[in-house]
């Protein structure tokens, strides 16, 4: 039997199992903490910083911090929400996110978070970097313009021998997630579809089908991201 522990999030006491991360504990108890790079079933990485919370007046990432008994967490405060909005804005200006022409629009987690935090315009100047698009795979288009380097595709899309289809290339501002040349040509259509689903933005697009779900019926058309968690 696992040990039960108590933590407080924004003053609300919740009970969770020892060993769970704060984000897991919060979501199980109907409290929304926004995430982008975190993905259920994959090891947390804590690189996007969307799930930032405050414990003991220190900023921490809730996807990598295990809940500990007696912890008092600040989550839904003006300061933290503005910090999160700032991260969303930075992601928007550092890539080329043309929502009107993107197939993932309406199902995109980055866009949905921007809606939730009411981003009307980023506070930073647009970068408009020159990025490449790789369409060499029969089933996948890998668009670097929209990639937010969350690593979710690297962590979750593997073949039966555990080999990764996607990998990091270069470092720093040149960093890109690439689809392996050879493996990309052999990827199955089912796995390619899964890659598109697992991508939080429109950087991995499944070929041959486009704009399947009409505007008005997409995932985030009527309800904000996180409303499925909140109670």
């Amino acid at each position: 039997m696992t040990n039960k522990i108590k933590i407080k999030i924004d003053g609300k006491e919740i009970i969770t199992d020892q060993g769970k991360t704060i984000v897991e504990a919060a979501h199980e108890n109907g409290i929304f903490i926004p995430t982008l790079c975190n993905f259920a079933g994959a090891l947390p990485k804590g690189c996007c910083r969307m799930c930032t919370i405050k414990i003991n007046n220190r900023f921490m990432t809730s996807c990598t911090t295990p809940a500990a008994h007696g912890m008092e967490v600040e989550n839904n405060t003006n300061e933290i929400n503005d910090f999160r909005k700032g991260i969303i804005e930075l992601l928007f200006v550092s890539g080329n996110h043309f929502c009107p022409s993107c197939e993932k629009s309406g199902n995109c987690e980055l866009q949905a978070l921007a809606y939730r935090y009411q981003m009307m315009v980023p506070r930073f100047p647009y970068d408009f970097p020159m990025k490449s698009v790789d369409g060499s795979s029969p089933y996948i288009i890998k668009d670097q313009n929209r990639c937010i380097l969350c690593k979710r595709c690297i962590k979750t899309i593997k073949d039966d021998q555990g080999r990764h289809y996607f990998a990091f290339k270069e470092r720093g501002h040149k960093l890109e997630v690439l689809l392996d040349d050879k493996m990309g040509k052999e990827i199955s259509s089912a796995l390619a579809k899964k890659a598109m689903e697992n991508c939080p933005v429109g950087s991995i697009i499944f070929k041959e089908v486009g704009f399947e779900v009409p505007i008005g019926q997409r995932k985030y058309d009527h309800k904000p991201i996180g409303s499925e968690i909140e109670n």
């Binding site: 043309f98 929502c99 022409s101 809606y115 009307m120 020159m130």
Partner: protein, 182 residues
């Protein structure tokens, strides 16, 4: 209440945002009670004839004429609103932003598959033509913009609610569905 004066323009846009204003349907009759249009494609007034309260900008800046018009709006309007994705972030015209301007022009007028009639390989060079900018700029990177209404096009309800709130001073409480980037 005195009518507020409104001016609108479409810079590097497609007029879709102006079309979306028409989507307020019969509320346009209420709008006319609240506002009077000055320089705008809606009434075809070409120059500012009086000081304007609210200037509405559709589209970003892709050439020197856009910049000039935008600056004249800033000069003549008390409040400026960026309407739609193109005004806010450059929009689809800004897809060219990663590509050098020379490459764009060559593709459009010299090397592209549909330029057969341009046998002398001339780039547009008349003095009357505005100069293209190196890239498409969001309006707020050229002048100060006071409010932003996103969408492609912005929903008619968003435009309506925002304008009424701005004109009457009432509180703006927008439903989730009206703020969209597409």
């Amino acid at each position: 209440m005195e009518k507020k004066i409104i001016a609108t323009t479409s810079l590097a846009g497609c007029f879709g945002c102006h079309m979306s204003v028409l989507d307020i349907d019969e509320r346009i009759l209420d709008l006319i009670e609240l506002v009077e249009f000055n320089k705008s494609p809606v009434d075809d007034i070409k120059t500012f004839t009086k000081p304007v309260d609210i200037g509405i900008i559709e589209g970003g800046c892709c050439n020197s004429e856009n910049v000039e018009v935008l600056r004249s709006f800033r000069k003549n309007c008390k409040i400026l609103i960026s309407l739609g994705e193109c005004a806010i972030m450059g929009g689809l015209p800004a897809l060219r932003n990663g590509i050098p301007i020379e490459e764009c022009l060559n593709e459009a007028y010299i090397n592209g598959p549909t330029v057969g009639l341009n046998t002398q390989h001339i780039l547009p060079n008349d003095d009357e033509l505005p100069m293209l900018l190196d890239k498409v700029y969001p309006c707020h990177e050229i002048v100060k913009i006071d409010y932003y209404l996103p969408g492609c096009p912005p929903r008619a309800d968003l435009i309506w609610e925002a304008l009424v709130a701005l004109i009457t001073g009432s509180k703006l409480d927008l439903p989730y569905e009206v703020i969209k980037f597409d």
